[in-house]
Subunit: 413 residues, 2 copies
């Protein structure tokens, strides 16, 4: 392609201007504080990792990894999630720290080849990992914390859908034994939430009853406690039964947390990460077509780093949450202190005093006759402007307060 | 090389465990809040940029840039500073926003080929850019803000050395006209602060008096106001004189800010960034061999992005500051709530209540007889431990409070 122009940046990445940064930082701060109240301690891992370790272990498909070679010829990736790096840390720096580990993070992650179609190549995630606890209580804790985190972020309305990869795997193994291709096509439809396609494939498989209606029936397995009961009747497979029992226990613990109203059991749900081994969940906000949080249990990942352990966790899609969260009124505005050179000491001292008191202050020297005229005009109308709620504008920028030193009649301080 | 082991990460990058993250986050928060009080608004730019734009414009030498190819064959770099990206934003997204722009950032930046010798390939910088103001007041503002930022970060003792690239360029042009090689060697020595090497080169040039003593005399040009006076006498070159006059004015404004005690004029100082065009400065903390802040004026950078403007700014070396800042006592510890299953609802409700009040709480279900025994023993000694100031340890982890539900004699809440 032709050389990029000076003002261009790679497609798929963003600049965040002050207004957006204020909002993003507020979400980050509130969510991390929430995670801290649940006993999760924050860690940071590097932006770059080895392809052969974290790159391969991550759930991101190979062609979506950002790769580069270091000068020794080793392939490096830009991290595509923080779950695999945390598994590495749990097995190295933290290997003497007893389980359970409760860790939180806020980080940018990367996807190559997502430059087209408006998808983002770099975006923020805020999440937790609970490592070393296989119980339904641990899964319920991360779901309840995901709900608390979405509330802390300010997401007004959302629903969490919970499924279990063991149920679908068990059911498909029972009803379509050895037919890997058919199983994969059906799962692909469920992952895309394409129920029409799922029914089409079912028809094309010319299955006998009751297999066909069993497989079609799962599309209706969405709801509360009653879904667990229905699912137990639907499948006789042991793995599927174990999965359902785990979900029933999890549902009870969610009741003890008082958060069942935010949760829906959805047995058609497949987590989109290949490393999930048990419960998976996704959270949807009103009026948004994509999840704002996703998580699940991954009991085989840590073994790849040399310290086998069950684990469960989630990541908020913080960049997407930015779109559904209301703007907050700015806490306090900026005061402009203008001064003529002979009054510099008094002006800068006043600025220092106000900054120490927590006020945001900009200082500007007034040098030219033109600038001086503009300041004098502004000072004359200042009282009227304040009365009418009109903004103070100087050199094209809006301020919430104005103090002048050595300009105009009455010096103000 | 051989395949990296599972627990390995690329050399030159770091994992930050919770203790270090707490400290790093505190520095980040306090410094950004300080910059906000000076009217600087925070922006965020992407981790990746085009090599042909930001990569070339940055002050980092080509072989130290982390490069990768995107799928279109365009060369991408991991940002090596945030000054060049901000120049890009000032010329694109912010091109209608009037000068002066006051922008702040906190970001990780990258250096390739620094993996050896313990140097870091990824590290944090926290900085500001003041764009569109060529005055000594602007230079003094960023130096005074650098001082306030180091204080906000908690750096106990530091000194800022201020120089001017125009002085050395002017002096060398006057004393060594046309001898580019000799000029470069002398500058290289100054950049490395190698005064012995500088004198050796001077000797080897067999210069006549008073040229030789003039060039040797600059090594003594370190101090306050008096240095400006000496420098004015030392060189008759116009550019050198202009530079010195600018520094004298800057020194006056620093006096108005009341911060001269932290500053040293050092005319041998050369900023290590090729884009500096005027005043440059570096800040040194006690007991640290490398600068904790560096900055300067770069009046030609924005033109490369299509919106010519003078600019000045600095970056704190936040990762290094981490090493000189004291640990702070943790604000409040974590309470452990243990429960037997029948008491789950009461236990989780108590946890919820405490979290709402801002407390950090971990909950654990007690399942096995062994766990139950450990909890009962802990409860029996709890009062004594608290009296003796001994920590509460459960499953190898230390807590600052303990509440049990459904275990032990008297249920506590």
């Amino acid at each position: 392609m032709s050389k990029p122009k000076g003002f261009e940046k790679p497609t798929g990445v963003k600049d965040y201007l002050p207004h957006a940064v204020t909002k993003l930082r507020r979400i980050e701060r509130n969510v991390l504080a929430c995670m801290h109240r649940w006993g999760y301690e924050q860690i940071m891992t590097p932006t770059i990792e080895y392809y052969d370790t974290v790159g391969v272990a991550s759930a991101t498909s190979d062609q979506k990894l950002f790769k580069l070679l270091n000068h020794r010829g080793t392939t490096i990736v830009l991290r595509s999630d923080v779950t695999a790096p945390i598994a590495r840390v749990a097995s190295s720096l933290l290997k003497e720290t007893p389980f359970p580990l409760r860790l939180s993070y806020h980080a940018n992650v990367f996807r190559a080849f997502e430059e087209e179609g408006g998808r983002e190549a770099e975006f923020f995630q805020t999440g937790v990992e609970l490592v070393g606890d296989a119980s339904p209580e641990a899964d319920a804790e991360v779901i309840a914390l995901a709900i608390a985190s979405l509330q802390a972020a300010g997401v007004p309305e959302f629903k969490i859908a919970v499924g279990h990869v063991g149920f679908l795997n068990g059911l498909f193994e029972e009803t379509l034994p050895g037919r890997a291709g058919a199983q994969e096509s059906l799962k692909a439809c469920l992952l895309q939430r394409d129920h029409v396609g799922y029914r089409d494939i079912l028809r094309s498989l010319s299955l006998e009853e009751p297999i066909r209606s069993e497989l079609e029936g799962i599309l209706r397995l969405r709801g509360g406690q009653e879904v667990c009961d229905q699912a137990l009747r639907l499948s006789g497979n042991d793995a599927a039964h174990l999965a359902i029992r785990h979900l029933c226990d999890l549902w009870d613990v969610l009741g003890a947390y008082g958060v069942q109203e935010h949760v829906l059991i959805d047995l058609t749900m497949i987590g989109d990460f290949s490393y999930y081994t048990g419960m998976t969940f996704e959270g949807y906000a009103a009026h948004l077509g994509f999840p704002v949080v996703s998580g699940g249990r991954y009991d085989n990942l840590l073994a790849q780093f040399g310290r086998p352990a069950p684990a469960t966790g989630f990541a908020l899609k913080t960049t997407r949450i930015l779109e559904v969260v209301e703007d907050e009124a700015e806490a306090n505005g900026t005061t402009l202190i203008l001064y003529a050179e002979p009054s510099r000491i008094a002006a800068l001292a006043e600025a220092g005093k106000r900054r120490e008191a927590g006020e945001s202050v900009v200082t500007e020297a007034v040098r030219t006759a033109e600038e001086r005229g503009a300041v004098e005009a502004l000072l004359q109308t200042k009282a009227n402007r304040a009365k009418n709620g009109e903004p103070l504008v100087y050199q094209g920028r809006r301020y919430d307060g104005l103090v002048a030193f050595g300009i105009g009649e009455g010096e103000e301080a």
